[in-house]
C-alpha cells in the first residue's frame, strides 16, 4: 500500500466523515487544523483511495490537494530574527512550505549575520540536525555568501538547500563543497512576496527543490526500509498517551521522514514511550532510538531500519 501525502480542505460541517474514512482506509492524519469555517487535514492516504476521498468530500465542499511535503519537518535557518530578515523573506518562505504540508521550524541564529563574524553555535547545529532538511536563507551578496557559508554549514549532516539573492548558477559556483539544493533570487527583501514573476516563482522553485531533495532521501531510505512507518508510530503513541487531545501545539507529535518529535518531557516519559506496544510482540523501544531533543525538553525518536532490527511492523 503506497501512502500519498495530500491535504483535504473542506468545511467543518461533517468533516468527521472524512476523518473516519481516512482512518478506515488505513491512512493517517498528520495534522488537523480548523481555521474559521474550514478544516485542513494533512494526511497520508492510500494511492488507490484518493478518488474515494475526493468523491466523499465533494458533497461537503471538500477538495483534495497534492501536498508533497506532508510528513516532513524542515528547518528554515535565518541569519537572525531581527527586522532585517523577518517577516520577509523568512516568514514568506516558511509559510509557503507549510502550504504544501511541511512542518517548518524557524531557526534564528544568534550570530548568523555579517560576513566575517557569522557563525553557528553547537546548540543551533544540533537543532538543525534534528530536521529532515535545512533551508539556509542567505543574503544578496555573493561575496558574503561565499565567505560565510563555510562557518554556517559546519557540522550540519542533513541536506542543505541554500537560497540567496544571486542567481542559481552563481550560488552553485560559489558554494564549495556543493550543497543539495540552490534557489537564486530569494535574498533579503523589504516587502511581502506577492508578484508572480520574480517572487512567487522563486518560492515555487524552492518547493520543487525541497521536494526533490527529500525524494532522494526517501529513495535512499526505501533501499533499507524503516522498521515501522513514522505515521503509524505517531498514531500508536498518540492513541496511547492522548497527546493531541491534551496539547495546544499545532503538531504535538511531529512526523519526520524517518522519525518523530514527541512534544512531551523526555525525563518523565522516555521510558514509558519506549514501553508502548505497537503490536503484541513489538514495543516502540525495539524499533526506535528514543533521544532527548535539543528543542526544549521534547523527545526525539529515530526509527531504526529493518537491517538493524530485523523487525517490520
Amino acid at each position: 500500500m503506497t501512502l500519498v501525502p495530500v491535504t483535504y480542505k473542506g468545511g467543518v460541517y461533517r468533516h468527521d466523515i472524512i476523518v473516519d474514512l481516512i482512518d478506515d482506509l488505513g491512512g493517517y492524519i498528520i495534522q488537523k487544523q480548523v481555521v474559521a469555517q474550514d478544516v485542513f487535514l494533512q494526511s497520508l492516504i492510500p494511492k488507490e483511495d484518493i478518488e474515494l476521498v475526493k468523491a466523499t468530500g465533494r458533497p461537503l465542499g471538500g477538495e483534495v490537494i497534492e501536498s508533497p511535503l506532508v510528513g516532513t519537518e524542515i528547518a528554515i535557518v535565518s541569519p537572525s530574527l531581527d527586522i532585517h530578515h523577518l517577516p520577509h523573506t523568512s516568514c514568506d518562505v516558511a509559510e509557503y512550505l507549510r502550504r504544501v504540508g511541511a512542518k517548518t521550524n524557524m531557526v534564528g541564529l544568534s550570530r548568523g549575520f555579517g560576513k566575517r563574524i557569522a557563525n553557528l553555535s553547537i546548540e543551533e547545529r544540533d537543532i538543525i540536525n534534528e530536521h529532515d532538511c535545512a533551508v539556509f536563507m542567505l543574503g544578496n551578496f555573493e561575496t558574503c555568501i561565499e565567505y560565510k557559508m563555510h562557518s554556517l554549514r559546519r557540522g550540519i549532516t542533513v541536506p542543505i538547500i541554500v537560497t540567496g539573492g544571486p542567481d542559481r548558477e552563481t550560488l552553485k559556483r560559489i558554494i564549495e563543497p556543493s550543497v543539495d539544493g540552490y534557489v537564486g533570487g530569494l535574498g533579503r527583501i523589504g516587502h511581502r512576496m506577492k508578484k508572480q514573476e520574480g517572487e512567487i516563482e522563486y518560492l515555487d522553485r524552492l518547493i520543487d527543490e525541497v521536494s526533490g531533495v527529500l525524494d532522494i532521501r526517501r529513495e535512499s531510505i526505501a533501499k533499507d526500509p524503516l522498521s515501522v512507518s513514522p505515521a503509524r508510530l505517531m498514531s500508536v503513541i498518540d492513541e496511547d498517551l492522548g497527546i493531541t487531545k491534551g496539547s495546544t501545539h499545532p503538531t504535538p507529535v511531529t512526523v519526520q521522514i524517518a522519525g518523530l518529535r514527541v512534544k512531551i518531557p523526555y525525563g518523565e516519559y522516555a521510558d514509558y514511550v519506549a514501553s508502548i506496544k505497537i503490536d503484541d510482540s513489538v514495543k516502540v523501544g525495539d524499533v526506535a532510538e528514543i533521544l532527548p531533543s535539543r528543542m526544549r525538553d521534547y523527545i526525539l525518536l529515530r526509527i531504526k531500519p529493518f537491517s538493524d532490527t530485523g523487525i517490520m511492523v
Binding site: 566575517r116 544578496n140 555573493e142 561575496t143 539573492g165 544571486p166 533579503r188
Partner: protein
C-alpha cells in the same frame, strides 16, 4: 520613488539592485519619502562597510502652543482657546507633566484652563509641543540601521538640520578608512542642486 536623487553603488549588480529595493521599501514603510530629498548609498564588500549620505527637505518649525491656541488670562486662570485640535494630545501630555493632571482642567473640547498662580501666559505660549525634526531624526536613523546589513554593528552617524551620513561595518571604523568617502560624498550632495548648495 519620489526622491530628487537616489543612487546605490556596489560592485555586485544583483546586490546593488536588491539594496535599492530594500532602501525604497524601508523609506516607504517609515513614511520618509517626503522627508528625504537625496540619498546616496555605497556598499563596499571588501572592507566591508555600508555608507549612506543624504539631504533632507526643509522641515516645518517646531509647533508652539501659540500656533494653534489663543492664550488669555481670565479670572485668575490662564485660558487656552484651541483652534486646531491636531496637537491637543501632545499639548496635554506636556502640560500634565509640567503642572500636574489635577491643575490642567479641560471644561470642554476646545478649552483648557490652568491656574495663573502656577503658570505664566508667555511661558505657555512659547511651549513647544511637537517638533517634527526630533522624531524624523529618530526615524531616519532607524531607517538607515534597517537598510544596512544586519551584521554591521560598528557604526557612526551624523545628522544636522538638512544633511546626514551614516556608516556601519563589522570591522573597526578607522577615520582613515571613512573620512575620504564622507567628505567626498557630502561635497557632491552639497554641490548638486539647490537643497545641498545652501549648506556647502
Amino acid at each position: 520613488m519620489a526622491l530628487d536623487y537616489f543612487e546605490v553603488e556596489c560592485r555586485e549588480e544583483s546586490g546593488r539592485l536588491a539594496y535599492k529595493d530594500i532602501a525604497a521599501d524601508v523609506l516607504q514603510d517609515l513614511d520618509l519619502i517626503k522627508v528625504v530629498s537625496k540619498l546616496y548609498i555605497r556598499i563596499d564588500l571588501d572592507f566591508p562597510f555600508f555608507f549612506a549620505a543624504g539631504v533632507l527637505r526643509k522641515m516645518p518649525p517646531p509647533v508652539k502652543i501659540s500656533d494653534f491656541a489663543g492664550v488669555m488670562v481670565r479670572d485668575g486662570n490662564i485660558v487656552l482657546d484651541i483652534t486646531d485640535e491636531r496637537y491637543m494630545a501632545q499639548m496635554l501630555t506636556v502640560l500634565w507633566e509640567r503642572y500636574g493632571r489635577d491643575r490642567v482642567i479641560q471644561p470642554d473640547r476646545f478649552t483648557v484652563t490652568i491656574d495663573s498662580s502656577i503658570a505664566e501666559a508667555k511661558e505657555i505660549e512659547d511651549t513647544v509641543v511637537f517638533d517634527q525634526r526630533r522624531s524624523i531624526y529618530k526615524d531616519l536613523l532607524y531607517a538607515l540601521q534597517w537598510i544596512a546589513p544586519e551584521g554591521f554593528r560598528v557604526r557612526r552617524e551624523w545628522v544636522d538640520d538638512h544633511r546626514f551620513w551614516y556608516v556601519s561595518s563589522e570591522n573597526t571604523l578607522s577615520p582613515q578608512a571613512i573620512d575620504g568617502i564622507i567628505s567626498e560624498k557630502m561635497a557632491m550632495l552639497a554641490a548638486d542642486g539647490e537643497d545641498g548648495g545652501a549648506f556647502a
